[in-house]
Assembly symmetry: C2
Homo-oligomer: 162 residues x 2
């Protein structure tokens, strides 16, 4: 069975797949009399033709490493942002596209204080918190059209800690 | 000096001001082979004419109760959602409009697992986390136009714990 190791979630490595949303580096503005740092407009949100932004809450069962990856999915019509509502790390699995099916998957470990925005059409694993409650706010596309493609891997992949 | 007491944040009492976003009640769907509950499209997002959704990260200094409220603000062109990225409670202060200036303010205490979406034009206090880090994802309007009105209270209000 193929085994992949998690890497720390970092903006540059993740950029082809999406955005890392975090209070890192120099803020774009100090607001509220200097008491709040604003890291402004950091996600490449995309709700496609005929869509609008929606905000949903997901409560997902916690998983553990090693994690058995059997399915990837993608949303052809819009981006999808996952914002953890706790300070627990979570697992992020993505894959490049290889002619309409997923290429080799990659795994990232999001640290406390990191959220992600997956670009439209990026293959990714389902939401995999590593602690309970697995509570996330999700900003994704609301609108007509078929916005979910699933791909069952012919061979499961094991994700282990780096 | 006027003193107001916090109340627990509850959807019904907060509805005139905005949405409480939480994994409460019956989920709208079970996804990911039943491992994830989706509470779907729970915020009255509104990015007004000529605006679009933006996702920013705010890192605000923690405050404590009693809290001295001296300023309210509102965004005439769009809604503003605050999603805590930790499980710490935070303070939410809102006020009805009274002829173009804020009426009597009200204070709510958001519990772990609760986020909010303020409706367009609702008077509110600045972001007031009660623990460090005061880390929030904010979904609000990006676009041209004057989207901030501030109102300095003629007399400060003290917010105390219920």
């Amino acid at each position: 069975m193929q085994t992949i190791r998690t890497k720390p979630l970092a903006a540059a490595a993740f950029a082809p797949f999406g955005d890392v949303l975090e209070a890192a580096g120099t803020p774009d503005a100090l607001i509220n009399a200097g008491l709040c740092a604003r890291f402004h407009d950091r996600a490449r949100l995309d709700f496609g033709p005929g869509g609008r932004a929606g905000l949903s809450i997901f409560n997902a069962r916690a998983r553990a490493l090693p994690y058995r990856l059997e399915l990837l999915e993608r949303h052809p019509l819009g981006s999808q942002a996952f914002i953890p509502m706790t300070a627990a790390p979570f697992l992020v699995i993505v894959a490049p596209d290889a002619g309409g099916t997923p290429g080799s998957p990659r795994a990232f470990l999001a640290a406390p204080g990191q959220a992600i925005n997956l670009l439209r059409g990026i293959w990714h694993g389902v939401l995999t918190p590593l602690a309970t409650p697995g509570l996330f706010a999700v900003i994704d596309r609301i609108g007509p059209g078929a916005n979910l493609e699933e791909f069952a891997l012919p061979h499961a992949v094991t994700v282990i800690s780096d």
